[in-house]
Subunit: 468 residues, 2 copies
């Protein structure tokens, strides 16, 4: 929470709520329970509920909420599933949350074009169930069953970004409601365009601070004929990273490549009753024809062996794939099992892959020296990794050490030409780091954009940009 | 040329030129010949030379030009190689051209990270020569040996965008000089990031209207172990498009897939002394290991045959690849050979691939009905195609018919959910079409961004945005 975010004027808020109640009836909900639910944050940031929640059913609803709130300078906070990790849905200045849960339609599928048009509230698992019959899927997988609108707003990615890219690459076009209630169509449905400024990419990752996403056209992919899973243990993080770099450089189209460090493996062995060697593990997935995934798996196996990897295994059988990946699927709950009763603080950084081994190894050393416990799990093909810090929130000294660690984690990544967040976003939690990463010119430029599109700062105030 | 772009005040311009002369000496050039060269446009737009050209050597030079020009509200036009097609380097309001020719250094190569840092004036062929020894290449190929800065500014793509993406996907980060002379670092060197607004994508494709690109970090790829080329004739455009869609849907990672229509093939047979069947031709390229490109070529061959394709041929031998692709390499000069003495007007549109056959076929019919001659060449995997209209500029009636045709071409693409330009940009030539494509909300939003970053409209005025 930042002290500098001012609440809306009480009278203005009351007027806005009256107008919203008249317009939306019982689709405006003000109960304490519902407001609290919409402040839910999966981080250690305090919960900051909005003053009311509107359940939108269509674009006109969104426009009307925005227009009413704009008239009274009351904040507007878009809400998908509340699974963001940096306080993106908190309402530090109060205001009106727009819940997209009911805007969950699949509007059109264009199978030949490999795209579909959706409402923002549809979740990725629901979408993929609806697409399966047509042999298509939407590949971005951030772990949680997040809404696609929320994933676009936070520029989400996840395990198979190494092959399919992030939300940046997979949104074709959007319909966005601007601060004056106008509709912005960001692009045509053409696969590529050089027609003017890239408005799509401007709104992707803007965390609801520039406009509200009302519709999306997203890229789809054919469900691969065959999926192979593989696993391989490595003596060191460095060896695992070298194998990853070599695999990418030789052009193996890895669909997923995940690193689990020794601490995570120990936790997974205990939690999931596995007997993995207690050292760095890489888990992989390959997508293609039978022949392709076989060739890719075997080529990776050779590279892994050259880098000192052992216990290399690969399979295309569904049940064996699940077994190989068990440690990754259960990673979060296995981590929680290390120190029952503590809170987990999940954060992420991303560095150029050449620096990844060094960054992870230094982070492991820092954890030991700080007497902290955190498994490390990484989307290693992108240079992106997560720490799952298990922290006793009642222990002031541990809390202080944890804060110091998280601060050094970001500074370490930035010192290696990396970023303070590869996929979780800035939200409330990482604002102080933006300037250190990009310098004052970039921050000022972001402010210019924010002021231009949202002069009264009604859209998700207190997010992304640090106080002036 | 648009009448509404006002020239800078004469006194202000004189003051700016004095300051620039004092700062840059003989690196400010005002000769008629050099000014004319910098207005060069490969379209039928009239040439509009700047008032002076500064040959920049480093970022500080760019900052100083921008600061001096900003003080006097004199336009600034960045210049790479002048190979843009929609008047992007013209100076309708006069002003100072910044020529990047001498800012052509390869600053750093990060082979493990598959990226490099460059100055904006380096051309793609020079860059690829410098990278070859390390087994790396930069894949974007718009045809011309353009500067990478110019390619970023216009969001260029070309024949292998179907596999490697466009400049949108291949710029990692940029250093940009803002209208107040400040430096904006748009991103870290991490492969992905969710840290704030996507400033990189904001400047990519902004055609010099929001800032001047002073440095770029771009993505590289490993030179493929083997390259296969293939060619196949089809009875109709529709059959060729169906084969393309099926190949993409089955996941064949086509590196290039180019369509040449019957008119182009006739021209190529005549110009390059070939004996291709005078019907629609697809030319393809596959990148990978020996086994991969063989499998891909053969899978495509089967699909092509299922769609009625004939004369399917594929090869990995360099001299045979050149022979198969001869018609594509010589396409422009072959087209010019159809009607010697006429001018050629090259334009592009892009539609969802499901509509491509229909769009190309209707365009061919329109050409016949308008008594015009234009071969069609398409990056068919992206739904993007070019017409090379051969026009007798001295024939007023033909000129009128040509203008009508070009107008209908764009409206046809837009009516099919497509865009008025897939890769050439808006420049001066396509401003009137932006609003029709995206609606007033998008245009107003682009204007808000332009005003926010360039309130005095000094950066490349008269480009992209239609007059208010």
């Amino acid at each position: 929470m930042r002290a500098d975010v001012q609440r809306a004027d009480a009278g203005a808020l009351a007027c806005a709520l009256d107008s919203l109640a008249a317009r939306f009836g019982n689709r405006l909900v003000r109960s304490q329970a519902v407001r609290e639910q919409h402040a839910h944050t999966l981080s250690w940031l305090p919960r900051q509920p909005p003053d009311g929640v509107v359940f939108a059913q269509n674009t006109t609803d969104i426009q009307d909420v925005v227009r009413i709130c704009a008239r009274h300078k009351v904040p507007v906070i878009p809400y998908g599933t509340g699974t963001s990790l940096e306080g993106q849905v908190n309402a530090p200045a109060g205001g009106i949350c727009i819940d997209m849960r009911d805007m969950n339609r699949l509007i059109a599928v264009h199978a030949d074009d490999l795209d579909c048009v959706i409402e923002p509230g549809i979740t990725r698992k629901t979408l993929n169930e609806l697409l399966r019959d047509q042999g298509l899927f939407f590949p971005i997988d951030p772990g949680a069953d997040a809404s696609i609108g929320g994933m676009a707003a936070t520029r989400a990615s996840g395990t198979n970004a190494v092959r399919y890219g992030t939300m940046r690459d997979n949104v074709v076009a959007m319909k966005v409601v601007r601060a004056d209630g106008a509709i912005v169509n960001t692009a045509s449905r053409a696969k590529k365009s050089s027609a003017g400024y890239d408005l799509t990419r401007l709104f992707v990752g803007s965390e609801g601070t520039l406009g509200v996403i009302a519709e999306l056209t997203i890229r789809l992919h054919g469900i691969p004929e065959t999926i192979a899973a593989a696993s391989c243990s490595f003596p060191t993080v460095d060896a695992a990273c070298r194998a990853t770099i070599m695999a990418i450089q030789t052009g193996i189209p890895l669909a997923r490549i995940e690193l689990l460090d020794e601490v995570q493996i120990k936790a997974s062995n205990a939690y999931s009753k596995l007997s993995l060697p207690e050292t760095t593990l890489l888990l992989l997935e390959f997508h293609g024809s039978d022949a392709e995934v076989a060739a890719q798996s075997e080529r990776f196996g050779e590279i892994a062996r050259d880098c000192g990897g052992g216990n290399f295994e690969w399979t295309t059988k569904a049940e064996d794939r699940t077994r190989l990946w068990q440690a990754r699927h259960d990673a979060y709950w296995a981590a929680r099992g290390i120190r029952p009763g503590t809170e987990s603080v999940t954060t992420d950084v991303c560095v150029p892959i050449s620096r990844l081994a060094e960054c992870v190894t230094e982070t492991q050393r820092d954890l030991r020296e700080s007497r902290l416990v955190s498994p490390i799990v990484g989307h290693v093909g992108d240079g992106n990794f997560h720490t799952i810090l298990l922290c006793d929130m009642t222990d002031a000294d541990e809390l202080r050490r944890a804060e110091g660690f998280l601060h050094r984690l970001v500074e370490r990544a930035q010192a290696m030409d990396g970023t303070c967040t590869g996929e979780h976003g800035i939200g409330q939690g990482k604002q102080d780091y933006l300037k250190g990463e990009l310098g004052p010119g970039a921050i000022e430029t972001m402010r210019m954009l924010k002021r231009a599109l949202d002069p009264d700062n009604i859209f998700n105030p207190g997010k992304i940009l640090p106080p002036e």
